[in-house]
């Protein structure tokens, strides 16, 4: 029987890649472990090893093909003694299967991809007219590209801005967020550091005290636990304790929250930790436009800013305004979907889940208003209250732990500031209150999901 070789997933978050090179030709025999192809993703170029032994029967995807979806059949392997004739049927079947899978892709919830998040809403972002002038041309851009552009633009604008972190220079960023920066700005301004989160957070704080504007990248905020003393005791305190005589214009940025299949120590949302600290500003955008506008603002801010990104949405595309200098104010939430029946408050990736939930709810006649907090400190409570005064119901969705969370804060503040406008208790929907499970099925159950937001909304609408 022929063996199907499929496009491998080289990381849990990879959805497609470029088949850059075949290292075997049709008719070549391969042993398990042989390298048969090179694949390029937005993160890295990797070699693909054969798992089985046999003879390459047919190469189904040509070298250089881009966006080959993970799981597509890329070649057929003949087992020992198997005739090439066996390919005739198999090849066709495989090709058909591949194209059928493609056609189904948007509609079906693929059970083979256990960690995959629910379907994305078709139009994830609604441009805010106040923030983007009417008639502005919009370009499609991923969050990753928008972040890179924000840094590059600020580095062109201000010589004092530099980027420092692990793998940010030669490797172009562990998640390719700093792509192209080394080439344009050189190794004085794009610095690969030793493996020392604590070290470069402290050195970055010192460089800020010395007059530079460092952008410190943590490979993920999980690793920033090593550095939190410098973020909180050095960066966040220095201005206050010096009676305002020093500026600490440093940005600490990197992915935060659960990625996919990376287990408990690498899947954590620390937003509420940082947001509780006076002296810090904390930003956690969802869309590419917000990521760009807010990162530019963070770099210009004379205060230390913790800028929380999300690995899962790095590759997601959004409309980004084509403007020379698009800067958004820190501390302003945004209504990303208008609705009259309930307010769903969210930030970062939870906005995506909230928007997906809103679509489902709309089909059932419930119009949800979705508020993207964007900044967590300062927190734009007036925008939340304004929405709740209109809808009288509120659910807070957060991809993170529930206890002492941003959702807890929003709930408490609504009790203080909007109690008389509430027709139901505010509900929080979050991850479960345990470390992140590693097993794919458990992780999926553990995570925030649109389905659970839908249930909570029905509850506050007394529709369950």
């Amino acid at each position: 029987m022929t063996i199907e070789i499929t496009m491998p997933a080289l990381s849990p978050t990879m959805e497609s890649g470029t088949l850059s090179k075949w290292l075997k030709s049709e008719g070549d025999s391969v042993a398990a472990g042989d390298i048969i192809a090179e694949i390029e993703t937005d993160k890295a170029t990797m070699e693909v090893e054969a798992v089985d032994e046999g003879t390459i029967g047919k190469l189904l995807v040509a070298e250089g093909t881009e966006d080959v979806p993970v799981g597509d059949v890329i070649a057929l392997l003949l087992e020992d003694g198997e005739d090439k004739a066996a390919l005739d049927g198999a090849g066709t079947q495989a090709a058909e299967k591949a194209s059928a899978a493609k056609a189904d892709d948007s509609a079906s919830d693929d059970n083979d991809e256990p960690a995959e998040r629910p379907t994305r809403p078709a139009e994830p972002m609604i441009a805010d007219e106040e923030e983007i002038p009417a008639g502005t041309e919009m370009v499609k851009q991923t969050v990753r590209e928008a972040l890179r552009d924000a840094m590059a633009e600020e580095m062109r604008r201000d010589d004092m801005v530099f980027v420092m972190g692990e793998e940010v220079a030669e490797y172009q960023g562990a998640y390719k967020v700093t792509q192209g920066l080394l080439e344009e700005f050189g190794d004085k301004r794009v610095i690969d550091t030793p493996i020392t989160e604590y070290g470069f957070a402290g050195l970055g704080t010192g460089a800020a005290l010395g007059g530079l504007k460092p952008v410190i990248e943590f490979m993920t905020f999980n690793f920033a636990m090593q550095a939190i003393d410098h973020i909180i005791n050095s960066a966040a305190k220095q201005r206050y304790m010096a009676g305002g005589k020093v500026d600490v214009p440093v940005v600490f940025r990197g992915p935060n929250g659960a990625a996919a299949r990376v287990a408990a120590q690498h899947s954590q949302n620390f937003a509420s930790w940082y947001a509780s600290v006076p002296g810090l500003k904390v930003v956690a955008p969802y869309s590419a436009a917000d990521a760009k506008g807010l990162l530019k603002a963070a770099i210009r801010d004379p205060n230390p800013v913790v800028f929380l990104e999300n690995e899962i949405i790095y590759g997601q595309s959004f409309d980004v305004p084509k403007l020379d200098d698009f800067v958004l104010p820190i501390g302003k939430a945004k209504v990303v979907r208008q609705g009259s029946d309930v307010t769903i408050v969210a930030y970062s990736i939870a906005v995506r889940e909230a928007l997906a939930a809103a679509e489902t709810l709309a089909e059932e006649g419930i119009e949800a208003e979705v508020v993207d907090l964007r900044s967590l400190r300062p927190l734009d409570l007036p925008t939340v209250v304004q929405s709740v005064r209109k809808t009288n119901r509120c659910v807070v969705a957060e991809e993170g732990w529930p206890v002492c969370s941003i959702a807890s804060e929003i709930s408490a503040r609504l009790m203080e500031d909007a109690f008389d406008y509430l027709d139901a208790p505010v509900l929080r929907v979050s991850d479960e209150d345990t470390p992140t499970p590693y097993a794919a099925n458990l992780e999926k159950l553990w995570l925030l999901s649109p389905d659970r937001i839908v249930k909570a909304v029905k509850k506050v609408c007394y529709r369950d």
């Binding site: 550091t193 070290g199 402290g202 970055g204 010395g210 460092p214 005589k245 004379p302 300062p378």
Partner: protein
């Protein structure tokens, strides 16, 4: 293959020029202009008088906790003497003599010790950082500031101070490693005063010296008698010149002794005896230097007496001025709690201020 030495990894030298009696080793005596010698002596003596006065003020409850410098004046002045105004001093919390050398005013030091942020006045023309109480974190800040000066193409250097206890913190490792890797113009001055509160050096590290730790980072380490101002001056000059001209960091260990309490919240009689301290009284950095200066005919007992009287009067006057300012500040607007948290106001702060103002009004109304 038999084991073999990889390479000669470097040696740590110990430098001493003035012995305990104040006798100088003529072969090593540096050529320091007389005016500079006198200026350094003045700074050490003033530092001592200031420290003694400050301890009295603290004991009377006029100011808060602080860390006395007694016995460590040479380590601070001998090192800081090489800084230009545009260089940076990144202190820990026991460098009052160095801070005053850089231009810090007594009034500001006392205001800060009494709890008023206004006291964090960075001296005009100097580019110093405020003192740093968390142990060793300033070492990474110093490396960062050094990166900033290098980045801008300036030839200013950074001098940072720390104690023997700080060498056990991760910051020490990370700062020395980073400074070596990035070739940063920074001098790490370790005031090895033998004690980290109650913990003696022997329990801090198995290393024979602090200076040898530099070897592991591939940077020079020097060890000097930290109570010998001439030795500190010579070694610090070497380190500062190397930082400025070659952008090579140095770890300079000044072997000294904490003659007083760790901070005013400490009682050393619980963990060390007079027998421990006595040998170090004979090694006092100021009397030793004075013997040298007297032998050179630069000072005499009469000058010294006059200096002490002048300092005493000046400090009395400075404290009066400080006290007046404290009274003004105490009677002033407590809204300062919210000042300086962020560079700009934002709605949340404005709201908090309004709430706080209301609270004060209510509390005052109800006595």
């Amino acid at each position: 293959m038999p084991r073999h030495a990889v390479e000669r990894l470097g040696t740590v030298t110990h430098l001493s020029i003035l012995d305990e009696t104040g006798a100088v080793d003529k072969a090593l005596e540096p050529d320091i202009p007389e005016t500079d010698l006198l200026e350094m002596h003045r700074a050490m003596l003033y530092g001592r008088c200031f420290d003694e006065r400050m301890l009295k003020l603290q004991r009377q409850g006029r100011i808060g906790t602080f860390a006395p410098i007694k016995g460590q004046e040479a380590a601070q002045i001998g090192a800081a003497a090489h800084l230009r105004p545009s260089d940076w001093l990144v202190p820990s919390f026991r460098e009052i003599a160095a801070q005053i050398w850089r231009g810090a005013k007594p009034r500001d030091i006392w205001l800060f010790a009494a709890g008023y942020n206004e006291g964090v006045a960075i001296p005009e023309d100097a580019r110093d950082l405020p003192l740093c109480v968390p142990v060793a974190t300033q070492l990474l800040h110093a490396a960062g500031v050094a990166y900033a000066t290098k980045y801008r193409g300036e030839d200013d250097i950074v001098m940072t101070f720390h104690g023997d206890g700080a060498t056990s913190e991760g910051d020490f490792h990370e700062a020395l490693n980073f400074s070596g890797v990035l070739d940063l113009p920074v001098v790490f001055v370790c005031q090895n005063n033998q004690w980290a509160i109650s913990l003696p050096l022997a329990k801090q590290t198995r290393s024979k010296t602090i200076a040898q730790k530099a070897v592991a980072y591939g940077i020079p380490g020097l060890r000097v008698d930290g109570n010998d101002i001439l030795a500190v001056w010579v070694a610090a000059k070497e380190a500062v010149d190397r930082a400025r001209n070659e952008q090579i960091p140095t770890l300079l260990e000044c072997v000294t002794y904490r003659m007083e309490v760790h901070t005013t919240a400490d009682d050393p009689t619980r963990y060390r005896t007079e027998d421990d301290v006595a040998p170090w009284r004979k090694r006092d950095p100021i009397s030793r230097f004075e013997t040298y200066l007297k032998a050179k005919g630069l000072i005499d007992d009469k000058t010294l007496k006059g200096m002490r009287e002048t300092f005493r009067d000046a400090l009395k006057h400075d404290w009066q001025e400080t006290q007046e300012r404290i009274e003004e500040l105490d009677a002033g607007d407590p809204m300062g709690i919210f000042d300086a948290l962020y560079a700009q106001d934002y709605p949340h702060i404005t709201e908090q201020k309004a709430y706080f103002r209301e609270r004060l009004k209510r509390e005052r109304a109800h006595g």
